[in-house]
Amino acid sequence: MNIVVCAKVVPDYEVPASDFELVNGRAHKRFTRMIGLYDENAVEVGVQLKEKYNGNLIIISYGREEDIPILRKAIAMGGDKLIIIIGNSDDPYIISENLKMGIERIGDVDFVLAGRQSADMDRGIVPGILAGMLNYTFVPQVTQIELINGLWKAIQVTEKGIREIKVSKKAVFSITDDPGNIPRIPPVRRILAAKKMPVEKLNEIQVPPMQIEEISVDIPKIEIECEFLSVEDPKEAARALLNRLKEERYL
């Protein structure tokens, strides 16, 4: 069984707003690069499935060559192989076509996992576009997948609750976080093994980008002064807070 997980290396997603800086509309290169938050959840789901069903886990990424050492962490978590397509576009079509190219080289793929949204572009559309290109079904916001009688059953988290969905075609699942898929810390042995794992590097194929024009990227200023209330007596503090909220007509 071949399980593919798409992982993307992004700038540190926990940079505090006060320290955030842009250069040419993108995050300053001084911020540490790391695998996206939801991508790690996806890798974790992939590893759990690989262990449960005795599969092969292939990590695939579109990005920079310097990101390979960071992607080895995904291998250390349980990946068997890393395929990286070297390129630096942000365009979702370019990314998806290239991921598709990488996936098609693997051969018989059972399904594809991806994080529900990248931590830099905040879009969540590459997995769906990729599904369209592969002619796979797209199921977003999944936390768990199980094989039941030869078909995959996915648990999807919605605004109102959860859905159990049976999938009868090959699918791309975008993964959201859940206490059951918290990314594992790989044991040191796996980290050392990952360092020697072969990495397949592919050159990107040229694809026309989406036809939209990026006009500007700005950092919105948060201009709020926090009014701190004294806590000598909790009840007094509570009263003071409620009074202030009433004064400002919030309550």
């Binding site: 540190d12 926990e14 940079v15 505090p16 006060s18 320290d19 001084r30 540490t32 790391m34 594992r184 810390i185 790989p186 044991p187 040191v188 042995r189 796996r190 980290i191 050392l192 093994a193 360092k195 020697k196 806590v231 000598e232």
Partner: protein, 657 residues
């Protein structure tokens, strides 16, 4: 008239012959211990050289002072004195017995003249009296034990050997007195003479004397034979353990050698890699197994442990007791985590108070940390919050996840020079806590102002780096070495030779661990640097009319023996008030061992320490470590809204003229 050896005893030399089988039984007992200890792994050699006299693997000073003279036992004065009486008394009595043997075999005239009076008579009687007093103290203690003896588990076997020893001494005096009653006053033997006066001359002396003599002899030999099988084995193991313990302060963790693994990672199959850290008893070094064999379960470590104080599951005594029982049962291959829980192992703040007070030089913390290394590096087990800090350190190079600050926010309003290769003398190492925690940022600002005022040639790195110490504390040698190697490479490229640190954890890493990986620097913790500037007249402080209490940081204090300089600094600023637990016995703030990022069980250590500090009534609580500053600032909130906790650098900057 001198004393006749073997008075009334025929074939007395049989006793001496019996010492041969006793010797074999004794040797076999020691052999069992040795065999068990050798089931451990080869000891990791520490590369830091310590200039202290050595014979083979034995360090002479600790062997003599701690091992034989038992200097640490005297920290509890009554136990110490009782033990001293017992031990030295028995040593003297042993010398007495040897003297008798010399007389019997070689005819040396021990029973004549001044030697007989002062030594064979007076000294030996005194020795007997004192050792009896000592052993009676210990018998009493076993019957009415202090909490530390019974905490976790009580070691069996003390009463048996103690009462046997008492028996031997008492029968010894009886024999002496009976002999004196029938042979006349023995000059010098004031006890024997006195008892003789009381018991007089009983009838049937021959049968009575002979019976007591043989019983006395056999029991004495039995005790000797039994030594290795009883708690008395510490007579052998304790001096050896102390002699083999490198006299270096701190945890003496050493640095794991991954380079061989990493270089040969192509050839070595994953499952052939040796175990990282300790998961089973056999993974411990034989030095650790010797530690477990030596432990007398005295509980002194239990009493000073901050985890015990605050009701956590960890007790260092419990750890060593559990491991020593497993060793005795020879359970070398079982998983230790069936017996010791993960939370217990992560409760440890590495304050090293246990190491400080242990009379037999056991390194409890190292045993705990070795298990922690296995938990994290092999099993990826780590408590949740600490795990997030760990992941943050791994991903972004510092453990302060969720920080609201960028790396350079601390220096927003001040102008800080950057280290220039070959031009700047000192690198001011900022470290991570001072950059990312708002309250601690002032330490850096204050130090920068002090260094500028004193005209010191210093500079910082253009980027904030962590020494990797939190990784080591949490158990990942691997991550620590990765970070340290990157730092060393960078510092080499800049030609850094002198470093000033703001955090004792950084200092400790630079001093104890970086040299093992090739990073050798002269390192000054900021308090020593400030003191240096004061002493050389480059800085002046205005004395204030305030009371200041000092919280000793574990990593400056116990780990590096820096106690006096912070005190001298404080005396320049105000009046020093000591807390009850100070210097070597200072109570940890609770932030070490990665426990800054932890949801604590039980009550909170920082609150305990803050209470102690607050109750001195001092105007200011001085700290010398950013973690202590943060922990105590939080802890003091339970007692006052006022901010009383300040770093020494902040105080000096405030009061410099």
């Amino acid at each position: 008239m001198g004393r006749t050896p073997y008075w009334l005893i025929k074939y007395g030399f049989i006793i001496d012959l019996l010492s041969i089988p006793v010797g074999f039984v004794f040797a076999y007992g020691i052999f069992i211990h040795w065999k068990r200890i050798r089931m451990g792994t080869e000891r990791i050699k520490l590369n830091i050289s310590v200039s202290t006299p050595k014979i083979g693997p034995f360090y002479i000073k600790p062997f003599i002072f701690i091992g034989i003279l038992g200097s640490k036992i005297y920290k509890k004065i009554f136990s110490g004195i009782a033990h001293g009486f017992l031990f030295w008394g028995m040593v003297l009595l042993l010398l007495g017995t040897i003297s008798v043997l010399m007389n019997v075999v070689f005819g040396i005239p021990v029973f004549k003249g001044l030697f007989n009076y002062y030594f064979m008579g007076f000294t030996l009687d005194l020795a007997g009296l004192l050792s009896l007093a000592g052993v009676l103290f210990f018998i009493f203690r076993r019957i009415f034990p202090p909490q530390r003896i019974t905490a976790f588990k009580e070691k069996k076997g003390f009463l048996l050997v103690e009462t046997s020893i008492a028996f031997v001494i008492i029968t010894g005096f009886l024999l002496e007195s009976l002999r004196i009653s029938y042979n006349g006053i023995d000059p010098g033997s004031f006890i024997g003479n006195w008892i003789s006066g009381i018991i007089g001359k009983p009838g049937n002396i021959k049968i009575i004397y002979q019976s007591i003599w043989w019983i006395h002899g056999i029991v004495a030999l039995a005790v000797i034979a039994y030594i290795p099988y009883s708690p008395l084995v510490h007579l052998i193991l304790a001096p050896i353990n102390s002699g083999l313990s490198r006299p270096l302060s701190g945890l003496k963790m050493g640095v794991m050698n991954f380079s061989e693994l990493v270089d040969n990672v192509e050839e070595i199959q994953e499952d052939e890699l040796p175990s990282l850290g300790v998961g089973r008893l056999a993974d411990f070094s034989w030095k650790r197994l010797l530690d477990f064999s030596t432990c007398l379960w005295c509980g002194r470590c239990h009493e000073v442990c901050p985890a015990v104080l605050t009701g956590k599951s960890l007790t260092p005594k419990g750890i060593i007791v559990t491991l020593s029982e497993l060793l005795k049962e020879e359970k070398f291959q079982e998983s230790l985590f069936n017996y010791i829980s993960i939370n217990t192992i992560y409760n440890c703040t590495t304050c090293a108070a246990c190491i400080e007070v242990c009379p037999v030089s056991i390194n409890q913390t190292k045993a705990i940390m070795r298990m922690r290394q296995y938990l994290l590096m092999e099993l990826s087990e780590i408590p949740e919050t600490m795990g997030r800090a760990y992941k943050s350190l791994e991903n972004r190079g510092h453990p302060f996840f969720g920080t609201g600050f960028g790396p350079n926010d601390w220096q927003k309003d001040i102008d800080v020079p950057i280290f220039q290769k070959e031009k700047t003398e000192y690198l001011l190492w900022i470290g991570c806590s001072v950059a990312y925690e708002e309250r601690a940022q002032n330490i850096a600002r204050s130090m920068v102002k002090i260094l500028k005022k004193a005209g010191v040639s210093f500079g910082i790195l253009p980027d904030i780096r962590c020494t990797g110490d939190p990784a080591k504390q949490m158990g990942s040698e691997f991550l620590f070495i990765e970070i340290a190697q990157q730092n060393i490479e960078y510092l080499s490229s800049l030609g850094v030779k002198n470093i000033i640190t703001l955090c004792p954890h950084c200092y400790d890493s630079f001093i104890h661990y970086y040299p093992e990986i090739g990073g050798i620097y002269r390192v000054f913790p900021h308090v020593l640097m400030i003191k240096k500037l004061l002493d050389s007249g480059k800085l002046h402080l205005k004395k204030q009319n305030i009371n200041i209490t000092l919280h000793d940081s574990c990593y400056l204090g116990r780990h590096n023996k820096i106690f006096d300089e912070p005190r001298e600094l404080i005396s320049y600023i105000g009046k020093l008030i000591e807390m009850k637990r100070n210097r070597e016995l200072s109570l940890c703030c609770g932030g070490g061992g990665g426990n800054y990022w932890t949801e604590e069980e039980g009550t909170r250590i920082n609150r305990e320490r803050a209470r102690e500090a607050f109750e001195t009534g001092a105007d200011v609580i001085a700290t010398s470590c950013p973690f202590c500053l943060l922990m105590l600032t939080d802890g003091i909130k339970g007692f006052t809204q006022e901010n009383k906790v300040f770093d020494i650098a902040e105080l000096c900057e405030n009061f410099m003229e």
